[in-house]
Point group: C2
Chain length 205, copies 2
């Protein structure tokens, strides 16, 4: 195999057009941006295209959407396809730049419906985003059985020490509602690490 590909769900373009099209304009506040990301998490669950997580990259100051991502772990078959990773990769491809903080680019931010897991936390500095905006907390994710991985307790400070601002608990209740609804309807708490531990929380997206 020499090529590895994954696809965003078929509903994404129309969703983005409806939410961010010319008439709708750009979401000015972080709450407006988070509301759209939470709506994408709902849609991902309702459409059966992945776990209850979404994220997007915006231009921090203008609010222009660069790319939307949703959790695709089980549906696209790759454990790395957490919403944040998908959004960052989609944004880098949209701009043709592997560094969203590169010369000549406006500052970018990652808006995520749930705080990043250990992997996505580690990916954030490499992506070049200047700010992270999170809705539900990692404890909210753990409360429904998802594992956030071996993330340092002082992860916010670690990002801020690298010049990346962190805004937490933006519309936390609304963001948490999608997690809880997913759990209530018996959505799969899919895990890495296999059969010997399939009944305890191991991973998420």
């Amino acid at each position: 195999m020499t090529e590895i590909a994954f696809s965003l769900p078929a509903w994404v373009p129309a969703f983005v057009q409806a939410a961010f099209g010319q008439a709708a304009g750009v979401p000015a506040t972080v709450e407006d941006r988070m509301r759209l990301v939470i709506a994408a998490a709902w849609r991902n669950v309702e459409a059966g295209t992945g776990g209850p997580f979404a994220a997007a990259v915006f231009e921090r100051d203008s609010g222009r959407l660069v790319a939307l991502g949703v959790n695709l772990v089980t549906t696209q078959g790759l454990s790395l396809l957490h919403a944040e990773m998908v959004a960052l990769a989609a944004a880098q491809r949209a701009l043709g730049r592997w560094d969203l903080g590169g010369a000549g680019l406006p500052a970018h931010e990652l808006v995520t419906s749930t705080e990043p897991c250990a992997m996505c936390f580690g990916a954030i500095p490499w992506s070049g985003v200047r700010r992270v905006v999170a809705g539900a907390t990692d404890s909210d994710a753990r409360a429904i059985g998802f594992d956030e991985g071996p993330k340092p307790a002082d992860w916010r400070r670690a990002l801020e020490g690298r010049g990346i601002a962190v805004l937490s608990e933006v519309l936390r209740d609304e963001a948490c509602a999608v997690l809880q609804a997913y759990a209530r309807r018996g959505g799969a708490i899919y895990n890495g690490g296999g059969d010997s531990s399939s009944d305890r929380p191991r991973g998420r997206g």
Copy 2:
């Protein structure tokens, strides 16, 4: 955009065939496996297809190669394409399973020419591998200017606490040699986080 794809370098299939073909057989020891991964890191540098890092997923007990990955950050334009992430994704696609520790599969291991950065460390539990074998240390990577990110100091213990064994410094000198050669020839120490800090270490692959 609805599809995101990246490609392994064109030299990979022939390299794999030569190293792991029927005549060459399977590499029985972790040193044999590491030697092949280090050779792939050299090739990646010589071919100009990415940074001085390679990784591979093997069946832990048999030594069968499942997939090889190399660093592709700058050449494929995505900051997540560290060698370990590429190897894990390629292995998951090769097996058609997002969990390499899933039911019915043999135990898998990740052999990496340099210890994982913060992102790849966080990705390991979600991948389902049961063992990590590393060559050069994160301090070796930092010594030539690459940043390993905000990885917990006790990262080995965090993995072992999740049932993932860690073997460090396997052929460390040989693995380190490729990093040092890359630095000597002035290879780009590419970074995320942009222009304001382009002259200090920020990322790697």
